[in-house]
């Protein structure tokens, strides 16, 4: 006989899981008990939401689904924000929750929550396990669904009696067969032909790189398309990191908080090739206008994204890596020289904002300096708020990654995501940039960092404000500030020291750069506190 809990652990082992993030509780104890017999490493987080964020950082850094575990009731509901964050950014996660005894379901017993019901809008799929015999199939399907097609989080809710019940033998299925799930991979040949034709006819073509390019691992294919056609390119926030800032076709991030050259090019293009971009309102605020002005080629693995926010003239459903590969191979025409020169002039005329200051740490110039100091394959996680905009517009991703919560905009993402990223890629430099607001949403994870001796560098931009909301209050609510002053901040340096984490305060750019250099050269975790001007805008 083999117990449900043991099957769960064996399923994870069969999926090659070597590490998971979790927080135990009574309803998941049988699983934890078996986990102790396994070589799978368990990282105890300090709050369940951060287990999901850490799994997200892990998944995004190594390309395999991240795994997080929580108990029933509050453990499970705490996971929700993390799962919703992953869902919006299409990050593959398998979340396992304990559940009360299946015979007591629906009776509102201690720590019972209908988590599959609650997570319905935030998961790609979910399972409530009713029979231990089903576990191998469900785990196999969950990992398959999470990581194929458009990736996303999958939840498996396992009642405690199912974990305790036994079945005769364990056999892990080799294949999945879900009749309603067969993601399309190859783009339609005719549509690809039409796209190539449109690209050669366009006077002002523009490529927009979205998060789908990152998820599909299509960097090489996109860069070769850019090189061959010289078509200028922009990126959404989720697509950052694919094209290095110094690529001469590249104009930076579009959107409400993007760079001017990128937005200018988008306003003037007569053909926009959307690659794995879902046309979110922060990236493209007037999709109808764009659709009227330019022909749209929309490439996405998720058919539902095509035509959702913008009408596509040439829709291509398929794996972006394969589609871009085909386009790069078949495209022959070079973008018109006049257009190339026009956008290069925009790029030349653009002077990034922010100069080093003596009175405060000026964050934009500091991020640029930091970017120059970090290793080429470093991973930066950016939190949410003004600090996110400072980071994403000024950090130059070379061979590494930039991880941030783009879709849901979840504050507190950076620290746990950095933990996950570092555990996935222990040899890479990992830096988290947070604001004082967002840092305080997950700073309990400093404990996780200490317990596991995880060498990540944290930069906290302290302005004593919820700066992003304050900007909204300034622009749209007559400057009436409410709820956006962060009085009661702790002394972050002493806080870090209380955890035994070396830390220092920088009061101007010179100090910040000096400390950053010191921080990056050490092999231990470090928390760098930067005092930022409270009145500084995000762009």
């Amino acid at each position: 006989m083999i117990s449900g809990a043991e099957i769960m652990v064996k399923c994870l082992e069969n999926e090659g899981v070597s590490l998971l993030f979790g927080y135990p509780g009574a309803a998941i104890c049988p699983f934890y008990d078996r986990l102790s017999q396994s070589s799978i490493r368990h990282i105890l987080v300090r709050e369940e939401q951060n287990a999901a964020h850490a799994a997200s950082g892990y998944a995004r850094s190594c390309g395999r689904p991240g795994v997080c575990v929580a108990t029933s009731g509050p453990g499970a509901t705490n996971l929700i924000t993390g799962l919703a964050t992953a869902y919006m950014d299409s990050i593959p996660i398998v979340a396992i929750t304990g559940q009360v005894n299946s015979e007591l379901l629906g009776r509102d017993v201690f720590q019972e929550a209908d988590i599959t019901g609650a997570c319905e809008p935030f998961t790609k799929h979910s399972y409530l396990v009713k029979d231990a015999k089903e576990l191998p199939r469900i785990f196999k399907e969950a990992f398959h669904i999470a990581s194929t097609g458009r990736p996303g989080p999958v939840l498996i809710d396992v009642p405690i009696d199912i974990q305790q019940s036994g079945i005769a033998e364990f056999k892990y299925p080799q294949q999945v067969d879900i009749i309603g799930y067969k993601p399309r991979t190859q783009g339609h040949a005719l549509q690809i032909k039409r796209a190539v034709q449109a690209m050669s006819e366009a006077k002002r073509p523009l490529i927009c790189c979205g998060g789908g390019v990152v998820l599909a691992g299509a960097r090489k294919e996109l860069l070769s398309l850019l090189e061959k056609t010289q078509i200028p390119a922009v990126s959404t926030m989720m697509g950052l990191g694919v094209i290095p800032l110094d690529n001469e076709s590249y104009l930076g991030m579009i959107g409400t908080h993007g760079r001017r050259p990128a937005n200018q090019a988008l306003l003037e293009a007569d053909l926009v090739i959307l690659c794995g971009a879902r046309v979110g309102d922060r990236a493209i605020c007037a999709p109808d206008m764009l659709g009227a002005q330019a022909k749209i080629i929309h490439i996405d693995v998720d058919p539902a994204e095509i035509g959702k926010n913008i009408t596509a003239h040439i829709p291509i459903v398929g794996d972006i890596r394969l589609v871009l590969g085909a386009l790069a191979e078949k495209a022959s025409a070079r973008a018109p020289q006049e257009w190339i020169e026009q956008v290069r002039a925009y790029q030349r005329d653009y002077v990034p904002r922010g100069e080093p200051s003596e009175d405060f740490v000026e964050p934009r110039s500091f991020v640029r300096a930091l970017s120059g100091m970090m290793k080429d394959d470093a991973i930066l996680t950016a939190d949410v708020g003004q600090n996110q905009i400072w980071s994403v517009n000024n950090f130059n991703v070379k061979e590494g990654r930039l991880l941030t919560s783009g879709g849901l905009g979840t504050m507190g993402y950076a620290l746990p995501a950095a933990l996950g990223a570092k555990l996935a890629k222990p040899r890479r430099q990992v830096v988290a940039i947070c604001g004082d607001g967002s840092f305080q949403m997950s700073m309990c994870e400093l404990g996780t960092l200490c317990q596991n001796q995880i060498d990540i560098k944290i930069i906290v931009m302290v302005n004593g404000r919820l700066g992003m909301v304050r900007e909204v209050q300034d622009k749209q609510y007559g400057g009436r500030h409410i709820g956006t002053v962060l009085d009661g901040n702790p002394d972050f340096v002493r806080l870090a020291e209380a955890y035994g984490i070396p830390s220092a305060l920088a009061e101007n750019n010179r100090q910040a750069e000096e400390l950053a250099r010191k921080m990056l050269s050490s092999s231990k975790a470090f928390l760098l506190v930067c005092r930022v001007d409270p009145d500084l805008p995000s762009i």
Partner: protein
């Protein structure tokens, strides 16, 4: 405009809530939804009638297809048979019985229950014809209506999903 969707789903618990939840959170309005098992007991058919434009129905179709237990979605266009079953209880004293029976005969409804003060008709036809029946019965006083929602199937040999496909 009204669109009729024929949706094949895995016959398992929770699927109805996944589908209805999707309609609620994406802001799609359901006119009617009817579910029942098909010739294959592992598969159920949902017939969903939605009101909207072409763009909306395209999104409904694509979003439904994203749900893992959804096997096949077909927007029925052109020639299909649609029908719904309804039961309607009308206030009816004995003196009005002949009139109501006449209306029933005219439209092909069946009297399934009679009391001293009421008469219940069973009717099975398109949503449009059903409305006609109700309009004719209204002057007598409709006490209660129960409807199944529209069921639909393509005319001719065409099917929503081929066997072994």
């Amino acid at each position: 405009m009204k669109y009729t969707l024929s949706v094949l789903v895995e016959n398992q618990p929770g699927v109805l809530s996944k589908v209805s939840g999707l309609f609620a959170r994406r802001g799609f309005n359901i006119d009617s939804l009817a579910v029942g098992v098909t010739e294959d007991s592992r598969i159920s058919r949902m017939t969903i009638v939605v009101n909207g434009d072409e763009h909306l129905v395209e999104q409904v179709e694509k979003q439904l297809n994203k749900l893992i237990p959804v096997i096949k979605v077909k927007v029925l266009a052109g020639d299909f048979i649609s029908s719904e079953l309804s039961l309607v209880k009308v206030s009816c004293t004995p003196q009005y019985r002949p009139e109501i029976i006449q209306i029933a005969d005219l439209l092909g409804a069946r009297v399934v229950d009679v009391s001293l003060s009421s008469m219940t008709l069973q009717f099975s036809d398109t949503a449009q014809k059903t409305e006609t029946l109700f309009a004719l019965l209204k002057p007598y006083g409709i006490k209660e209506i129960a409807r199944t929602g529209t069921l639909a199937i393509e005319r001719g040999p065409g099917v929503t999903r081929k066997q072994n496909a």
